[in-house]
Amino acid sequence: MYDAPASELKVTQKETKIAANKVQVFYGDTHAIKDVDVQIEDKTVTAFIGPSGCGKSTFLRCLNRMNDTIDICRVQGQILLDGEDIYDPKVDPVQLRAKVGMVFQKPNPFPKSIYDNIAYGPRIHGLAKNKADLDDIVEKSLRRGAIWNEVKDRLHSPGTGLSGGQQQRLCIARAVATEPEVLLMDEPCSALDPIATGQVEELIDELRENYSVVIVTHSMQQAARVSQKTAFFHLGSLVEYGETGQIFTNPVDPRTESYITGRIG
């Protein structure tokens, strides 16, 4: 359904949401990300592809400063969200992460009820004035997560009791509940079967209406299906970045071509 030829996907020029300039990331002495420049557009799905260990997840985690939790990790360069440097000392990463939500590789619902999973973010950010508000947010988020119909009758049963695919959609619903402007997804489908993957991809496409979505994926078909822009990372460098159709049909860099055709990776 979504694997229409990439060349047919309509891409219009949109505003830049996130701009990275000369980003370097070090893990101790390891230089994990080298000189990455990238402009991520609003209301667009951007896919990061590349072989394992190429730094795409690391770079993704720089975008909402999740790397701050790793002691030995240092980030240099500039990442601008709507023109504001997110690594400015005045920026509180907590506020940033409310704007830049994240979905992880492994579904990681809180060991609480489905309702509380969704309600947690709005609660700590004070998005709901009362219980009815909160109920609305929960329902809206679960609907956006395309999981409402499956869980509406058991909102108070534990989120960990859902199947893997449902858990991942719950996590996506949880991420959108705080009304972020950017949604980062780190291999969201790697633990899912093809049916659940299809549902999540469908969801990503819908989310594009409102958000800028950045997705890291190992599946090139997935990148081709869901994204409008694709960035290819190799050995910590951004090798090529462009329209998904162009990357997959007519890559400029020979390394991109070898990866896409399965020769490196």
């Binding site: 999740m66 939500g101 979905v103 060991p111 991420a175 509940a177 705080t178």
Partner: protein
């Protein structure tokens, strides 16, 4: 045999699967040997446990029954209240010594009433059958009810520990040959009194709820007061060790930067857990008593010392259970914009709770059974003969603690105290078992919530 059933056309196997080769046989033998060692090790452990429980129950259960004499005693007015005006102050002047003749007279009368002939030339010898606590018991009664002077009142008096031991089988006739406390004739009288129903062994609540007694009155000693001492110590330990320990572990595990200092602290906490408890005792003596001038033998000081001892246990187990919480939960919380503290208190801590509680209760149980540090702050050797008057005195007045009380009894020469030491161990073990069961229940309850 197998050849007969071989399907025609099938290739002959290079080596038959039906025959084990040497390597596999040796490997299987090694595995069987290992299993046998394991079973042997577990069995040895179980045998020792069974022996221990058997010994504790056999030696300790007699402490829960006690022999009592039922004796009607005439509260002779001419001896207790010479002037006859029932003035409490005058009655108080009669010491316990003055009550002894009343008991002897009462005993004689009781024996005569049952038709038991006294074998003694001197009636005074009968006194040895009754506990040395009896005069005080009667005096207390008289002081509380001065209006009953002149009446004959029936008293249940504790039998002396030798008579009690005879009924429990601890004291045999042969043993009495060189015993100046009791003669074989006393045992004849005891037999006769038991047959007459005025000497009987009943359950001894006073052992569980009573106070300790001096060395010469083992039949009167109980563990109740030192239980209260232990209780107040545990309050101190719980009140200090739990918050300090949990706060320290959360900080070290979740917030502290990982550098040389925190590494040093971590190593030292692990080492502290292995420091002999008597070292904590001498530290407590030096710091809390000699330097801070806190009262000696007080449960407050005992609790402080045990807190020092318990902290490393609580910190280590709390850190372990915090570590066991999957990092994905922290990521999830941070990912929706929770602060570090929110992610710890809303998500990590509830998940780590069962582990923290288990660690705390096990630390408390360890502290409850600890004797060595109490030696040095004076909780051993103190005769816990009075209940504290209130909460404050519960913390500050000298008291003993259960393990210290047990040690104290085991140290005393009288075999009747030996029996009480075992009896005390039963109570201590029951407390420890209860705490462990609570730990298990809490763990289950909290785990089920998730």
């Amino acid at each position: 045999m197998t050849d007969a059933t071989t399907t025609p056309g099938a290739a002959a196997p290079k080596s038959s699967l039906l025959q084990l080769d040497d390597r596999v046989r040796r490997r299987n033998a090694a595995e069987r040997r290992f299993k046998a060692y394991g079973i042997a090790a577990v069995s040895i452990g179980l045998v020792f446990l069974a022996l221990l429980l058997f010994a504790i129950i056999r030696n300790g259960v007699p402490a829960y029954t006690q022999t009592f004499l039922t004796v009607p005693i005439e509260l002779q007015a001419d001896k207790l209240d010479k002037n006859g005006n029932r003035d409490l102050e005058e009655i108080q002047k009669v010491s316990t010594f003055g009550y002894k003749p009343l008991i002897i007279d009462g005993m004689e009368a009781a024996l005569a009433g049952q038709g038991i002939a006294s074998p003694f030339e001197k009636a005074k010898d009968l006194e040895k059958m009754v506990s040395a606590s009896a005069p005080a018991q009667i005096r207390d009664f008289v002081l509380a009810n001065p209006d009953r002077i002149g009446e004959t009142v029936e008293f249940r008096l504790l039998a002396s520990s030798r008579v009690d031991g005879y009924l429990k089988g601890r004291v045999a006739r042969e043993d009495l040959a060189r015993d100046k406390n009791l003669d074989a004739e006393h045992l004849d009288v005891a037999d006769a009194m038991r047959d007459a129903g005025i000497l009987e062994r009943t359950f001894n609540w006073a052992f569980i709820f009573g106070a300790d007694a001096s060395e010469s009155r083992p039949e009167q000693a109980g563990i109740g007061v030192s239980m209260i001492g232990s209780f107040f110590m545990m309050l101190v330990v719980l009140g200090l060790a739990l918050p300090i320990g949990v706060a320290a572990s959360i900080y070290l595990e979740e917030f502290a930067p990982k550098n040389r200092w925190t590494d040093l602290i971590e190593v030292n906490i692990s080492n502290l857990a292995a420091v002999p408890s008597i070292v904590f005792g001498i530290l407590g003596l030096a710091v809390f008593i000699q330097f801070a001038h806190l009262p000696q033998s007080a449960p407050l000081v005992g609790g402080l010392v045990l807190t020092l001892m318990t902290l490393p246990t609580i910190i280590i187990s709390t850190r372990a259970s915090l570590k066991a919480v999957p990092p994905s939960i922290r990521d999830a919380a941070l990912g929706v914009g929770a602060s570090k503290m929110q992610s710890v208190f809303h998500h990590v801590l509830p998940l780590a709770m069962p582990g923290i509680l288990t660690g705390t209760i096990i630390g408390l149980a360890q502290a409850l059974g600890e004797t060595a540090p109490l030696l040095l702050i004076g909780m051993v050797g103190y005769i816990a003969s009075n209940y504290p008057d209130g909460i404050a005195s519960g913390f500050l007045d000298p008291n003993s603690a259960m393990p210290a009380q047990i040690y104290e009894w085991a140290k005393r020469a009288d075999p009747a105290y030996y029996e009480r030491a075992w009896g005390g161990i039963i109570i201590l073990l029951l407390f420890l078992m209860t705490m462990n069961i609570i730990a298990i229940i809490l763990r289950r309850r909290f785990e089920r919530r998730w």
